[in-house]
Symmetry: C2
Subunit: 410 residues, 2 copies
């Protein structure tokens, strides 16, 4: 029997999530790029609520929000992020932060719990300025030089300028004390359709796939689009288009059953209608939980590039800009989520890998980590129409709070 | 025998061109987008020099500079433009303006010439905000609503804001008095290699090819790049890449001997590395002097689009955003250029079509028009390394001034 004193308050969780949706609203979702005004306002909103859970709030020099407890006993770290992709959904990030806040509100005041949930909102999980900069800063993996070099992918604004405008320049960055926490727990919407299509309530994450990212540049010859004959052109944009089609045709023979790859951005330079582009660039990403598959695909990518270069019209250069090894979730955390799901979600749970990257993969490098998923309608994410049934949000909160209770009292 | 009193001053022409290169310098070229500070400074520079040629200068409400003469007799309009493509060459535009200024300086004060050269610098020939907005405004083909709708293609800044910041808002726009001029003459670098490779000094333009431009949009489904399986994706960027490759493979069978086509810009939406693009857009352009060829290619474009749409992953929509009928240059103007080339360039001239668009095609719709080309080194244009030998620049100026003399005294 669950202890009803220690249950999540579903109405309070929904009210908090809707309050955050009210900051930077876009259609039914939000537009809160990292260090935008609505993102900063969301951080302040969280910082003001952490004392309700007996936590001391601090926003650090990279925009992480941390709520720390003076209560003796075990400490469990929990959280997610508050910024969004551009014009994206209301739950990707905030769900995990509010679940953590709710767990802290329910468990920290209880004298029967020998310990506390501490709450984190990691900055820039969505990668506007880099790759997991907030959680990586916390584990000591971001240098001042990294911050000097970071720029907003959309606007080009430097991270230094953004931090200064946000009033965060000069603040210390909080880093982890590895012995302080028994581990890290994060909740997230599934961003896929497996839970929904199987009528399940909870996904117990077993591993987080690695993400490998590349900047692929094509160099041809910029020239006039009216006076340069077709047969002498060195059109970097056309070389890029051929490269994308080659990938689409040749990757399936070499990839694994769950491999995915995406060209998310293309830029032609100078990008004017009357100029043959002399340079072109694409951002290309591959994900798999097996590094051997990625190694085979990297070889294929290089061989496609060599073939394009050998044709003599354009040169192709491939630069790896991000390498993410797959991260395993802690077995004890998985068991705790499963037990909580049996108690509060009728056992409607399933173990599954995460195809998306999350801060939990960063925290997993220094402490035990676990993740739970709730269903997402139609599997839509990174789009403003992303959504989850209120009932599933509440069930997820109850399982999350009970998982925290089990981990703190195990 | 040429009249030496009426010859171009080659040193003065080169000095003026270099003075304009000194405004908004980028490497050996310039960066002067329409209504940028260096562009506006170049307009002022010209306005200050027009009185040297007995002309009254005015900068009108769309940024055209016009120098008008009170001298009785025939009036010949001559000019080009002063803004540049982004990070582009020093001669594309200024050459024709300085030749016109030089012709006015040489011919207007001479009592033996019963008439005058009037000088024009047309705004935005390079199409930052639209298509030939300056010269089209002059012939009465741009409405206030057109200006309301115009935006800078790169920055998105509205033309109204740009005109206000330039101090031009509220000024009247000067429009043509069709009976005032015997015609319009424009000089330009060739932007091709034909003159250079044949050792010629002057190209006598016979016609200016038409430019047809299209916005082609692809609509798929935006989704998460990690959690969406390859086989269910509706990737608008990939559909666009396939479309570009299809064009490249299927157009040559249908195009004419001089047809050219170019994809100058590609945008994926939202353009983030971890999101499958749900929308994609390309700017596509075709040029030919035969509208029947263009009609065949438009049919092919539509059939490629229908095939992509029929595959069911993405929808393709083709919107024609610019139609340019080919423009014929006046036979009398061509004869005058040829006679001047015989007198001053040893007859090293050749008749040729222009593959690039020019303001002369706009002026040709209301008055006789002519164009002459000078060689461009390596045929490079719309790039900062664009260049022409000083000797060729001077020869071109001499032929240009003599052509004006012949037209005014014919």
């Amino acid at each position: 029997m669950p202890d009803h004193r220690l249950q999540a308050d579903g109405a309070r969780v929904l009210a908090d999530l809707n309050a955050l949706r009210g900051i930077g609203t876009y259609k039914t979702g939000v537009h809160k790029p990292t260090f935008s005004e609505p993102h900063l306002r969301s951080l302040e909103w969280l910082a003001q609520r952490l004392p309700d859970a007996g936590l001391t709030a601090e926003i650090d020099g990279i925009g992480n929000v941390l709520g720390t407890s003076a209560k003796p006993g075990r400490k469990l770290l929990a959280g997610s992020h508050l910024e969004s992709q551009n014009f994206a959904g209301w739950l990707d990030g905030p769900l995990g932060v509010i679940y953590a806040l709710e767990a802290a509100r329910v468990l920290n005041p209880d004298p029967g719990i020998d310990g506390a949930v501490e709450v984190a909102s990691w900055c820039d999980e969505e990668g506007h300025f880099g790759s997991f900069l907030g959680s990586r800063s916390y584990i000591g993996n971001v240098s001042e030089a990294d911050i000097d070099a970071a720029r907003d992918r959309s606007s080009g604004r430097t991270m230094r300028d953004a931090l200064r405008d946000a009033g965060l320049a000069g603040r210390p960055r909080i880093t982890a004390d590895a012995k302080r926490h028994i581990g890290y727990l994060e909740a997230h919407i599934e961003q896929g359709q497996r839970l929904e299509s199987s009528g399940l309530a909870i996904g117990i994450v077993t591993s987080i796939v690695g993400i490998w990212q590349y900047r692929i540049t094509f160099t041809g010859e910029q020239n006039h689009a009216g006076t340069t004959r077709m047969d002498v052109r060195k059109d970097a944009g056309l070389a890029l288009a051929r490269f994308c089609v080659d990938i689409d045709e040749r990757f399936p023979a070499v990839s694994g059953p769950r491999t995915v790859w995406t060209t998310g951005r293309i830029t032609l330079d100078p990008g004017a209608p009357s100029i043959i582009p002399g340079h072109a660039e694409m951002l290309f990403q591959m994900r798999d939980d097996d590094p051997a598959v990625i190694a085979r695909l990297e070889d294929l990518l290089q061989s496609i590039a060599a073939q394009v270069s050998a044709q003599g019209r354009c040169n192709v250069a491939i630069e790896r800009i991000r390498t993410g090894a797959p991260a395993l979730m802690d077995a004890g955390f998985q068991q705790a989520i499963e037990a909580a799901s049996r108690a509060l979600a009728g056992g409607r749970s399933e173990r599954m890998p995460s195809g998306a990257g999350h801060d939990a993969q960063v925290l997993a490098t220094i402490m035990p980590a676990g993740m739970l998923f709730v269903p997402s309608i139609g599997g839509i994410s990174h789009h403003w129409s992303e959504n989850t049934d209120d009932a599933d949000i509440v069930t997820g909160a109850q399982v999350f709070v009970d998982t925290c209770r089990r981990l703190l009292t195990a």
